[in-house]
Structures are given as structure tokens and as C-alpha cells.
């Protein structure tokens, strides 16, 4: 890893200031960024740690919304969201392994927008709002393809606001070596209808399966989507699974999520 200057501000305002410098980059849990820096795929001049900013941490309930600070580690979400949004807590509790969950954060996960990451599916299926230091971004506008998001340079995610659904579940087909999702489906039922987001499958990252949403909004049972499928075109093909296999898993995992939803 190339060397860099390390700074650890205590407030969002100080972090924004530090990130305005030349080639400065945010560091949250480091579980993704540090490995990429070791591979020299990334070499910022300054790393701005977000782990010392108290206002970016924690899980709080605000009426029908669960607000999660961007620097909240997965293990804390798994514990503190359980009483409010059990499907989200369960997703956080299945990320990687315990040591990764103690360090990795929701903000880092969604800023990174890995096509196989778990959190983007929950954010999109919940119609959550990504709050940054300057604005609020709807989930539908936030994720813009492989490792691409609506974030500008130096913009910091400070929190994510999740509307709490009536019922929801995340079904993850584990890629056992990486522990990421080979394909994962997050299904959430709201008064306004059902939302379904799929991760791990598409070459353009997390996406909404709108046909399944329409069918499930009328009839929230696995049978309602038994006849639906997605095209293998544009699905990821690698040594772990072909595009056909992933397209098949989209249906299977969505049905499992509907069955498990509570």
C-alpha cells in the first residue's frame, strides 16, 4: 500500500473540509477500501476516517422510519435494528463474518455499490433515502450501475432513512468463498405496494424486479411469481455461476424471500 496522510475528524463539517483537499478519500470500516489500496488499485493522498464522528453512528427510530448513521457497523445494525426492522437486521447479520461485521459500515457498503453486496438490495427495496452532507437522494436515483452511485466527489453519506415495511425478508444465496451474495433478493411489502430488489445477479448492479413487484402487490405469495422469470441477458457470468444460473436464482431467491417475509 502506498503511504498517505491520515486524518480523523470528529464532526461531519470537519470531514467535509478535509475531503475537499487534493486526492482525499473517505475511510469508513476499511473492509473494502484497505484491500483495494493494498492491491494499489487506489492510492489516495489523504484518508479521512469517518469512524470518529459520533453524529454518523447509531440506529434511531423516527416514527415509521428507521434512521441508520452511515458509520454504523453491520454488527450494530444486526443488534439494534432487530426490534424495528428484522429483515434489515438479519441482512446485516449475514454480511461476511463477525470480524468484518464489527468494522464494516452501511455507508461504506452503499457508497461502494459492489454488484454482489447485500445492503444495496435493502436500500432499494425499502425505497430508502440516502442522506448526505448536502442533500437527500432517493434509492431509485442513488445506485447507478457497477460501483457507480449518485455521490459527487467529496460528498459524504451521513445516514440512510428506511421506511419500515409491513413485512420483509432478505434471501441470500451465499458465494461461500467470498461470503458475498451469489444472488440475493430483498422483498418489502408496504401499504403502497411491494418492492423487490435483486443483488449479485446483474452486470449493472442492484435492480428492481418490477414484474414481480406488480404480481406480489396483488397477491403476496410465492405462487404469484411462480411463472415469472428474468432474462439471462445481462446477468453476471463467472466461475461461480453462469448468467442462466443467476437468472434462475433470481426467481428462487425472490420466492424464498416472500415465503420468509414477516
Amino acid at each position: 500500500m502506498y503511504n498517505f496522510d491520515f486524518v480523523k475528524p470528529a464532526t461531519i463539517a470537519e470531514a467535509v473540509e478535509a475531503l475537499s483537499g487534493e486526492e482525499a478519500q473517505a475511510l469508513s470500516g476499511g473492509q473494502t477500501l484497505l484491500p483495494t489500496m493494498k492491491q494499489r488499485l487506489n492510492a489516495p493522498a489523504t484518508l479521512v476516517s469517518l469512524t470518529g464522528i459520533a453524529e454518523m453512528k447509531g440506529v434511531t427510530r423516527d416514527g415509521d422510519t428507521l434512521v441508520i448513521g452511515a458509520a454504523t457497523p453491520h454488527a450494530v445494525v444486526a443488534r439494534d435494528a432487530a426490534a424495528h426492522y428484522p429483515a434489515l437486521a438479519a441482512l446485516a447479520g449475514q454480511i461476511g463474518d463477525p470480524a468484518v461485521r464489527n468494522r464494516g459500515t452501511i455507508g461504506g457498503s452503499i457508497a461502494n455499490n459492489d454488484p454482489s453486496a447485500c445492503y444495496p438490495s435493502a436500500v432499494l427495496a425499502s425505497g430508502a433515502v440516502v442522506v448526505t452532507n448536502t442533500r437527500e437522494i432517493a434509492a431509485d436515483d442513488f445506485f447507478q450501475g457497477l460501483f457507480e452511485t449518485a455521490l459527487h466527489d467529496g460528498e459524504i453519506i451521513t445516514a440512510v432513512r428506511f421506511p419500515i415495511p409491513q413485512k420483509a425478508a432478505y434471501a441470500k444465496f451465499l458465494q461461500p468463498a467470498s461470503r458475498f451474495a451469489l444472488t440475493g433478493a430483498f422483498v418489502a411489502q408496504y401499504a403502497a405496494g411491494v418492492r423487490v430488489a435483486i443483488t449479485g445477479a446483474s452486470e449493472s448492479g442492484v435492480f428492481r424486479w418490477t414484474e414481480a413487484e406488480a404480481a406480489l402487490s396483488g397477491n403476496f405469495t410465492p405462487e404469484a411469481i411462480a411463472g415469472l422469470s428474468v432474462a439471462a441477458d445481462g446477468m453476471i457470468g463467472d466461475l461461480h455461476g453462469t448468467p442462466d444460473y443467476r437468472a434462475h436464482l433470481v426467481g428462487v431467491m425472490t420466492r424464498r424471500a416472500v415465503t420468509a417475509a414477516r
Binding site: 503511504n3 491520515f6 480523523k8 463477525p98 470480524a99 464489527n102
Partner: protein, 163 residues
């Protein structure tokens, strides 16, 4: 270089760290605590697990400066005050929970974190908890058995070679 001070196994210890100095390198190369092993250096194997303020973390994927001021427990801190093996370590020895021993520091630290949060885990819970710790020697059975034994549970029914 920046001065980093940690409370390591109950003792205050300081050293100089660059921005890029990993907690694993700081412990091993600067503080001389080589019990913490670095296996993959890519966050996969768990050999480098230590406790930071009571939480298990992969020290190869944490910057030393980012945990400045924290309390860190390493494998050296798992022994009893008189230098004899601690409860979890002794169970690994008693139940052949290691062969080459490379993964053992991380295994013991992950196991200790589990037992702190769940004093009587089931076999399935132990296997699940050790997901991020890779061992290429033992086949895991005796590690699981050692952790069960360390929790004071009966392991005679496990049917795995030991003793």
C-alpha cells in the same frame, strides 16, 4: 509518522506509525508482539484477529492510527497471569484444536469473542461464528470441539477423534 498509543493486554504501549501502518504490523513489527499472525493479508483468513475495545477485528484491515487510544487484546493477553495457558488455549491443546498452529491465534481470539457474548454456544453456533477463520490443517472438527469444551460443555458425544 504519528505517535500511536494503545492499551495492549492491559499495558499502555506506544510507537510511531505511518498513515498506512496496519494494526497487524504495528503490533508485530513496532510493539514486537508476534503472536498475532498475518496469513492472507487480504481480510479473508482471520489469522490476524484481535479484540479492539472488546470487538473481534481483522488487524490486517484496520489502520493503527484509526484505533489510536483503543484497548487491544491479542493472543499474548489470553494466557493466565502466571504464564500458563488460558482456558480457551488449554482447550485447544487438550482437544488437538491445532496442527501447524498458524491459524490458532485468530481462532482463539474469535472463539473468545464468541464465548464473551454467548457463554454456552451450540456446535452450529460455533461453526457459524468461526466462518471468517480459515484453517488448512485440522478440518475444523477439533477446533469446534475445543471451543465447546472451553465453554464447559460436554464434548464426549461429538464422536470426533481427540485425546
Amino acid at each position: 509518522m504519528t505517535k500511536v498509543t494503545l492499551t495492549v493486554n492491559g499495558r499502555s504501549m506506544s510507537g510511531e506509525a505511518e498513515g498506512r501502518t496496519l494494526l497487524s504490523s504495528f503490533l508485530r513489527d513496532t510493539l514486537g508482539l508476534t503472536g498475532t499472525h498475518v496469513g492472507c493479508d487480504t481480510s479473508q483468513c482471520g489469522a490476524c484477529v484481535v479484540h479492539v475495545d472488546g470487538l473481534a477485528m481483522k488487524s490486517c484491515t484496520v489502520l493503527a492510527q484509526d484505533v489510536n487510544g483503543a484497548s487491544v487484546t491479542t493472543i499474548e493477553g489470553m494466557a493466565n497471569a502466571d504464564g500458563s495457558l488460558g482456558r480457551v488455549q488449554q482447550a485447544f491443546q487438550d482437544h488437538h484444536g491445532l496442527q501447524c498452529g498458524f491459524c490458532t491465534p485468530g481462532m482463539v481470539m474469535s472463539a473468545a469473542a464468541l464465548l464473551a457474548e454467548n457463554p454456552k454456544p451450540t456446535e452450529a453456533e460455533i461453526r457459524h461464528h468461526l466462518e471468517g477463520n480459515i484453517c488448512r490443517c485440522t478440518g475444523y472438527h477439533n477446533i469446534v470441539k475445543a471451543v465447546l469444551a472451553a465453554s464447559g460443555q460436554d464434548v464426549s458425544g461429538l464422536g470426533v477423534a481427540a485425546e
